[in-house]
């Protein structure tokens, strides 16, 4: 393997040659993100080319092994790639729950067969995945799920419903927690399965949020056949997989909170909107809140950096992901409260399309769910108290 200086140079050259101009700017709209999948409609030839070129090098998943469609990079190289992508403001070629959620547990717990079946299409953006965890009556008590999988020898017949499936109406395959032992205690008796969402008996219904948008669905399974060879880990041991996936998801959500790195600092937005008096922001009380926010934002960014460096130095992250999830989502809610305050009356209109007027309040409303989805803030604090701090009860 070439040394890192060479790698950086080659990466830079390749990106220069292969990243289309139009892919070198931040998203304007949510719809600018490319999610891949069977029914993917590319917004442009550039978007399609960018995905295909990156996938051809395995750089949609730089650290996955090459045999599964990855780039086979080590952590140092992956960091260089990330820096070089950031240098030219390159858009992510692919957004994917397959990568961010399913990938890690599948790599860790999946059989060789399952890895070869699923990982390469994920890496190429050919199959879009949906998550089937929550159920209407389970909520924070995830393990009390009731979706029922009856053992039919080589397959299960599954019945029940899931809720809060992100883009469930756009998914090709679903990974899903089902109950396979009805006698066992609730954390036992759960199995982690995968199935094609075009299988007979699968249907979805969008859930409209207070933001007016419908990024989630309910998902109904009516006598759906799921093959036993599509189980990750052992039957009745799905909770192990689920926990592993959740802690990765939390880390990702926390990261998203500060991933506003491309956008303007809140203080800058405020200074442009409100102006300065005597050199300081003209609304002194708002200024105090913004300063506290920006301090905490920097705190989280540095702590994520430290956690990553500690992982590299061999210290495991563990339950700390819950702390990040809590901190990051609370921070993101504060960010949007401040942006709403800064924007004042202009932010109060509901009309307007994806762009401009009416977009900010919808995003603001959407953030209120951050501290609920992926495990509520209360659940995260419980986890920190018990698993990290060792408090009893």
């Amino acid at each position: 393997m070439a040394d890192n200086g060479t790698f950086r140079r080659e990466t830079r050259d390749w990106l220069e040659a292969n990243c289309p101009e139009s892919m070198r700017q931040p998203y304007n709209y949510e719809a600018d993100a490319c999610w891949g999948g069977r029914n993917c409609k590319f917004q442009s030839e550039d978007q399609k080319a960018w995905l295909q070129r990156m996938a051809s090098r395995g750089w949609t998943v730089p650290t996955w092994p090459k045999e599964y469609g990855g780039g086979g990079l080590d952590l140092a190289q992956a960091k260089i790639l990330k820096q070089e992508l950031a240098r030219i403001n390159a858009r992510p070629p692919l957004e994917s729950f397959g990568i961010s959620m399913l990938g890690p547990p599948l790599l860790k717990f999946g059989s060789e067969e399952l890895k070869l079946q699923h990982l390469p299409p994920i890496a190429r953006g050919e199959i879009r995945w949906a998550q089937g965890y929550s159920e209407p009556n389970a909520g924070s008590d995830l393990a009390s799920l009731q979706m029922r999988a009856d053992d039919m020898g080589d397959h299960f017949i599954v019945n029940g419903s899931k809720i809060w499936t992100s883009y469930g109406d756009k998914g090709d395959w679903m990974f899903c927690l089902v109950r396979t032992d009805f006698e066992a205690k609730k954390h036992a008796g759960i199995t982690f399965v995968m199935f094609d969402m075009t299988t007979e008996g699968v249907s979805t219904r969008p859930i409209k949020l207070i933001s007016g948008k419908s990024p989630f669905t309910e998902t109904f399974l009516d006598n759906v056949r799921v093959e036993k060879n599509q189980v990750i880990g052992e039957i009745n041991d799905g909770w192990t997989i689920a926990k592993y996936l959740l802690s990765h998801e939390r880390e990702m959500i926390a990261g998203a909170g500060i991933l506003a790195s491309g956008s303007l600092p809140v203080s800058e937005v405020a200074a442009r909107a409100l102006g300065r008096q005597n050199g300081i922001l003209s609304e002194p009380m708002l200024r105090a809140d913004i300063a506290r926010f920006e301090i905490d934002e920097r705190c989280l960014a540095l702590t994520i950096e430290r956690a990553r460096d500690e992982v590299k130095a061999g210290v495991s992250l563990g339950a700390v992901a819950s702390m990040f999830k809590y901190y990051g989502t609370e921070l993101n809610k504060r960010r949007y409260e401040l942006l709403m305050s800064v924007s004042g009356q202009e932010a109060l209109q509901w009309e307007g399309g994806e762009d401009g007027l009416g977009e900010l309040p919808k995003k603001w409303l959407r953030t209120k769910g951050n501290s609920i989805e992926g495990g509520t803030s209360e659940i995260q604090l419980n986890i920190v108290a018990k698993r990290i701090l060792g408090l009893p009860g």
Partner: protein, 373 residues
Amino acid sequence: MALVLNEEQLMLKDSARSFLDSQAPVSHLRELRDSEDREGFSRELWAEMADMGWPAILVPEQYGGLGYGYTGIGIVLEETGRNLTPSPLLCTAMVGAAAIVKAGSDEQRESLLPAVAGGQHLLALACDESSRHAPHEITTTAVKDGESYRISGRKINVADGHIAETFIVSTQTANGVSLFLVPKDSGGVSVEPFRQLDTHHAANVAFDQVVVNKSSLLGPLDDGLGLLDYLLDVGRTGASAEMLGLAQEVFSRTLDYLKERKQFGVPIGSFQALQHRAAQLFGELEMCKSLVLKALQTLDEEPDGDPELASLTKSKLGETAHLAATEAIQMHGGIGMTDDFDIGFFLKRCKILDNLYGDSLYHLDRFARLRGY
């Protein structure tokens, strides 16, 4: 005056509550939204409110009103806040009526107050020009031209601006600030209505060389800043009363949910962390009740009001109502985020009321300035 409601006020409160519970609960707002009502409120309901005498509460008896004062109208606003009922009450029956009662000429009172009291004439205070509330920064001008004034400028986010028959407009005149009553059908007035995020409507209103007679001047020429501040303080107190109702209702729904929703085999209201947050919120709401009542009584008792109290009330209510609404969503969990459920409507309405006439941070600052620091 004792910080409790008297008999008459308790009766008014009860009747308002039972009327709104049956005629205009939150589902009423939802229907208006889903039917994409052009005005965002119900004229029929307004007629019924007028039959109940609500737009007449602040109007003196000699002009066909009830003379129940600010505390009276505040009590009713608290109840509409509880039900998120859209209506012209705040802008017409409180701010608008106060403007004419306080500063109107005999002619203005006689021509407007009976119609206001009857609910036939709607008013709107047009006072904001920049996105952040800054009512003293006025670029709209009223230039004297013989016996008339020519008004030019643009006011934004005028609450009830989409339905008002008459605007109360803040302007720069030769030597200061003056308020004018401008009929919406005056030549040169253009109204751009829009829907707000709480599904109430509002409007931006442009005045292009609008000619009004000098008899349209409301209050003193060039010296209207005090009147403007007074009317804003009236509006702030009214919005605070609405937020008080809203906050209490959303808290009450949350308490019910805490008692009923089970997780891990027990009601979630048995979790101590939630209990403590609910108890803290209860305390804040008790504070808010005292503030709103005191602020309303003070408007009834002090001819010029108490700007410091108005700001502290608006600031505290904005903050507490927001806390109540966001805690409600968090404690309801996923279902609180869905449009099918009503909780989100409270958060949205709260955002609008907090912003109206200056948000909680604006008033935190104004409070400190008024206290001299």
